[in-house]
């Protein structure tokens, strides 16, 4: 039985060697074989690279999760590194108190949704006008829109703050809405540019057909261009939502600095960064940890990390839901005109 199998194997190997010898003797087939082998090697290399880069990207996230679930009693335990010895949500409890989590989350949601809506309206309209409804001097305005990308926000922050204070707009979320609705929100210039490039890629014939049927530009925009530009809309919506969520500079300067009651997650996170010890002592939550924690820097690092996870968590959940749409949107967008 075994002998038979061995014989079979031997013959099959012999067969294969003969087959490849035959291929090797013919230059064209040899070339094809070599190409196939090369392709396989490149493929393996590609996978190694992709997996490695995925690790690099996911590393901070894994790190944060590993730290966040670590029990406070395990903080100096050298045997616990990636997987916590016992899962505990004590860190989360403490970080939530330090961040004033639910209040901040509500504020952040209000701000992000509002700003996203306003940015979408203003930038898509302006982008459409720059792409198709040209008038004399509109290219100058477009150059100005590109110029707003190049000038960093810090440069104009101080005078802007002063004039907004004179208008009595500082300290209210409506300021950010106003700026987003006027196309001067966070990186609006880039969104205008993206929309313009996108609309330029949509065939003119579609619009012309609509015009012949008696539509005015507003109808063409809302019924033809916007539905066709779904990819760009999703991209811009996600980016503006995320950037508003993670924004510290704008929000602090125009809202939170003079209205401490209205804090977003990111501003809370930063203020926790600066005064964690004080904040936690004030809240009297050190008792939850059950140790004298003020002496060990690892404890504050742990709480900071956990609060970071809490800040990013809603975004990650959101991303998880929209990522398919997002990826498809980018694929189909063809942003270059």
């Amino acid at each position: 039985m075994i002998k038979n199998a061995w014989k079979q194997l031997k013959s099959s190997i012999h067969c294969a060697i003969k087959h490849y010898q035959l291929i090797w003797s013919q230059p064209l087939r040899k070339k094809a074989l070599l190409y196939r082998i090369l392709g396989k090697i490149v493929n393996v290399f590609k996978y190694v690279l992709v997996v490695g880069l995925c690790f690099v990207i996911l590393y901070p996230l894994m790190l944060q999760l590993a730290i966040a679930f670590r029990a406070p009693t395990d903080v100096n335990n050298p045997t616990v590194l990636w997987i916590p010895g016992e899962f505990s949500i004590k860190n989360f409890q403490v970080a939530m108190i330090a961040l004033r989590y639910w209040d901040a989350l509500r504020n952040t949601l209000i701000l992000s949704f509002g700003v996203t809506m306003f940015q979408l309206i203003s930038t898509s309209l302006a982008g459409y006008a720059f792409a198709r409804l040209k008038f004399r001097g509109s290219s100058i305005f477009f150059a100005a829109a590109l110029f707003t990308i190049v000038v960093p926000q810090t440069v104009i922050a101080l005078p802007l703050l002063r004039s907004l204070t004179q208008m009595q707009l500082v300290g209210k979320p409506i300021t950010l809405f106003l700026m987003a609705g006027m196309g001067m929100g966070i990186k609006s210039g880039i969104f205008i540019y993206l929309f313009r490039q996108f609309y330029r890629g949509i065939p003119v014939e579609l619009e012309e057909a609509a015009y012949i049927d008696g539509a005015n530009p507003l109808q063409v925009f809302s019924k033809i261009m916007l539905p066709n530009a779904r990819g760009a809309v999703i991209t811009v919506a996600l980016l503006s939502f995320v950037w508003q969520w993670n924004d510290f500079y704008f929000t602090t300067l125009f809202v939170t600095r003079s209205n401490l009651g209205f804090a977003t997650l990111t501003t809370q996170q930063v203020s926790v960064l600066f005064g964690l010890q004080q904040a936690l002592t004030d809240a009297g939550v050190w008792g939850l940890m059950g140790q004298d924690v003020t002496k060990n820097p690892l404890f504050s690092s742990m709480i900071l990390n956990t609060s970071g996870v809490l800040v990013m968590l809603p975004l990650l959940v959101l991303y998880f839901f929209v990522q398919k749409l997002f990826v498809q949107g980018i694929e189909r967008s063809g942003i270059v005109g």
């Binding site: 992709v50 008038f135 104009i156 993670n246 942003i335």
Partner: protein
């Protein structure tokens, strides 16, 4: 449905409109007669060369018919004013009627202006006026007044001189900080661009699990960089990193090997700093990857097909088809990268706003404006330099 009651216009308004119409009629009549007289004069002139005459007459003829139309219009209005009842039209209706009378191109232009209007107001109120104010402030010596506000003292370029001579941040002068930031960008910029082009090309091919990989590669877009940096450089981050790097010391071995072969230290330094920054580079290039993937998707397939028919290899196709066609987007990504990484560079420490308030802004706004103007100029200089460098190699398909 309720019928709207129409109110007839008042007698005074009717009279006023009548006088205006009569005046208009007189003027039109005069010009009409003048033009027709000229028409006759030219027609009878025998010195004119024939082709010129024909052209002039044609032009005048058109003018005349235009005038005739206008006259007819005024006449009919006058007739209506004299004999018929005329009702008031609401302002909105008047406007919409005026709009409908515009030619189609002009209607589109009006809509274009309407669409841009919000942006334009924002540009004037929230952008250009603060920018001009910043530049003006940087030329003034400013000190806070007792009752709020500032005292202005025009001082030409004193702020800038002080900035470069005496201002320091943690022991290094502004010039040093600026050069260091620019050097950092000079390292980051090519690395990020090359890396993101490479990744975009990689992700653009279809392989097993490419959906998942794409989803993972766009996660950095969602990352909060403050939080991530804090995690990586915090006490725990260092603990983990020391544990990790015990595992592989590939980088060190490799660099030692290169040194032994005799490849210069500059290159190794560059490579090592790039390796050190791999986290930052990967996490910074999310948007650039998006831009490049979109650009790659929009390259028409027939170009590749014809290249294949001509016998081009994949390598040649990449350099001769892909790179030229995405070159405008390289420029876009470059601008975005410069702005983004300059925004998080060391010079920003001068301009930080922490939760307690601005540090320099409250005390010396003049100086603050000077720094930010320098910062902005440096930004524009870098982008302008890169533009000049790449201008010749950028290719526009249309």
């Amino acid at each position: 449905m309720k019928k709207k009651t129409l109110t007839p216009i008042t007698v005074q308004a009717r009279e006023a409109r009548k006088t205006v119409a009569i005046q208009k009629q007189g003027k039109l009549q005069a010009t009409f007669e003048e033009v027709s007289a000229r028409y006759i004069r030219i027609g009878e002139n025998k010195k004119y060369p024939a082709f010129l005459k024909f052209r002039r007459l044609n032009k005048l003829n058109r003018q005349l018919s235009h005038l005739r139309n206008k006259l007819q219009h005024v006449n009919s209005e006058l007739f209506a004013l004299n004999n018929q009842e005329i009702y008031q039209t609401p302002l909105l209706k008047q406007l919409s009627r005026k709009f409908e009378q515009l030619p189609y191109d002009k209607q589109k232009m009006v809509f274009g202006m309407l669409f841009i209007l919000p942006w334009l107001i924002g540009f004037i109120v929230f952008f250009s006026s603060p920018l001009i104010t910043t530049i003006w402030w940087s030329l003034n010596e400013m000190a806070p007044k007792v009752g709020g506000g500032f005292t202005f003292n025009f001082a030409w370029f004193d702020n800038y001189r002080n900035l470069f001579v005496s201002e320091t941040l943690a022991g290094s002068t502004v010039l040093e900080v600026l050069t260091r930031s620019i050097m950092n960008i000079a390292i980051d910029l090519p690395t990020i661009l090359l890396f993101s082009i490479f990744i975009a090309v990689l992700l653009n091919t279809k392989f097993k699990g490419h959906q998942l990989v794409k989803a993972i590669f766009f996660i950095p877009v969602v990352y909060n960089m403050t939080v991530v940096n804090n995690t990586l450089s915090g006490a725990f981050g260092q603990l983990f990193e020391s544990n990790l790097s015990e595992g592989f010391q590939l980088g060190e071995t490799f660099s030692n090997f290169l040194l032994q072969i005799g490849i210069g230290g500059g290159l190794i330094e560059f490579l090592m700093s790039a390796v050190d920054r791999i986290f930052l580079i990967v996490n910074k290039s999310g948007i650039q990857i998006i831009i490049f993937i979109a650009a790659l998707q929009s390259i028409p397939i027939h170009l590749y097909e014809s290249a294949k028919v001509e016998g081009a290899t994949k390598y040649e196709m990449f350099w001769k088809v892909t790179i030229p066609l995405i070159s405008p987007m390289i420029l876009t990504a470059l601008v975005f990268t410069v702005v983004d990484s300059f925004g998080s560079s060391e010079i920003m420490h001068f301009l930080t706003v922490n939760s307690q308030g601005t540090t320099m802004a409250t005390n010396m706004p003049g100086m603050y404006s000077a720094i930010s103007t320098v910062y902005f100029m440096a930004n524009i200089l870098i982008i302008g330099f890169a533009f000049l460098l790449l201008r010749k190699s950028v290719f526009y398909y249309d």
